[in-house]
Symmetry: C2
Subunit: 228 residues, 2 copies
DNA sequence: ATAATAGTGTCTGTGAGACATTATACC
DNA sequence: GGTATAATGTCTCACAGACACTATTAT
């Protein structure tokens, strides 16, 4: 037995976005064995001289065409001995949160990429252990909206309070009180800062536009309502 | 370029305990190159047929002699190309929280294991990127005490409210108000449950003994006081 | 008695949840 | 006018922080 047996190391990405009030995840249809024809998270092998985070950014760019303005953080690693029937593989999973991207995808590796509603994707019999990874990614995103300003990663550079609230509602899957939400996010110093502009693209009274502030941790947090 | 270059995969452990009001981490003195003679986190190579979590438990047992009653959770993975000068290595780091263990260590691999105060260990010029891993582990532990009942993992099966408070004070490095703390932990349903026994080993009035309850998430959380 | 720790009680300010109301656009 | 969304305001209750006080042991 060698003291350091060979492993393959991959990165897999849970890329989430919010569009039309729904939380979507980017999946690719596998063209090769194993799991040919099944949906999977985008990902690939880490190259010999490449940092893990660089590999994640590279895959993100290959699948979406965009890396700027996308939040990326490490999620967890998955390494069950038989998780890939071809060889012993450890996958380092990453969570990416992106604003509604220009076009679903285009060309290259991403030929068969599709956006699927996140909760629905969990029931789609994903390849490998990707259902587990996706579930962990969704839960991470839901939890982090509570105590970080990360919801702004789903928004355009300038956004209204109503659009920000729509992000929370889509990710958490439940409605929030618009008035209490407005008071909370505008009252937390550094969470969002007004730009002075306004918009009325959503109909109704024009809304102030905001940019994300410098706040890193939201204290006290913005907690999810009880599930029922 | 092969499509899946060979990597070595290791597990490294941040094993924390609280003793005499101090947060301690278990370190080992390296006997071999690279970094011979330097302190490092305990760890080792993942075996070909072994799950990542199993490897972490195995290393935990080899270093401490104990696995039962120890909380173990995955921390993060570290894979910078030059982090190990011997070969391309990805380390999956784990965080272990243990009650004050019977004896520091004994025999076998753990011949040179030592408990070091956690904050002090950060300045000890640890091998590899272990200072980064340790810093992440300490911060994870500090954060999780806020919203989980994980502090009980540092306690014996039966403990007093004062002992539990001492854990919080050691991990957070600041004093807490004993009266507000008592009200909070006894008032959170399912956090700790009274056993009916009492003890006076700590001097003063005898204290009620408690066991950890079934609560998984502490809501509302027990927040750290502001740093200053 | 003194010291030490355990446990209970009181007051106050912050802030979340539940609502009402007004403001400003488009039709 | 009606309808849509934005923004502000009010009331109440839960709870954290600050701090006083009582309880029970050991020396």
């Amino acid at each position: 037995m060698p003291s350091h047996p060979p492993f393959a190391v991959t990165v897999d990405l849970v890329i989430l976005t919010v569009r039309a009030g729904r939380l979507l995840v980017l999946l690719v249809e596998r063209g090769e064995q194993p799991y040919a024809g099944r949906l999977a998270l985008p990902g690939g092998f880490v190259r010999p001289t490449e940092d893990l985070e660089s590999a994640a950014y590279r895959e993100l760019g290959e699948e979406t065409g965009v890396t700027a303005g996308v939040h990326l953080e490490q999620l967890a690693s998955y390494g069950a001995p038989q998780r890939d029937p071809r060889m012993r593989t450890v996958s380092v999973a990453w969570l990416a949160l992106a604003p509604d991207l220009p076009e679903p995808v285009a060309g290259g590796d991403a030929a068969h990429a599709v956006w699927v509603e996140a909760t629905e994707a969990l029931g789609r019999n994903l390849a490998f252990d990707h259902a587990n990874i996706l579930a962990d990614g969704i839960e991470r995103a839901r939890a982090k909206l509570e105590y970080t300003p990360l919801a702004t990663a789903f928004c355009a550079p300038e956004f209204t309070v109503g659009q920000l609230r729509a992000v929370y509602e889509a990710v958490w899957g439940q409605a929030l009180d618009a008035r209490n939400f407005h008071r909370k996010v505008t009252g937390a110093p550094g969470f969002i800062v007004p730009t002075g502009h306004s918009t009325n693209v959503d109909g109704g009274r024009p809304a102030q536009l905001y940019r994300r502030g410098s706040l890193a941790v939201l204290n006290p947090p913005l907690v999810r309502p009880d599930s029922p």
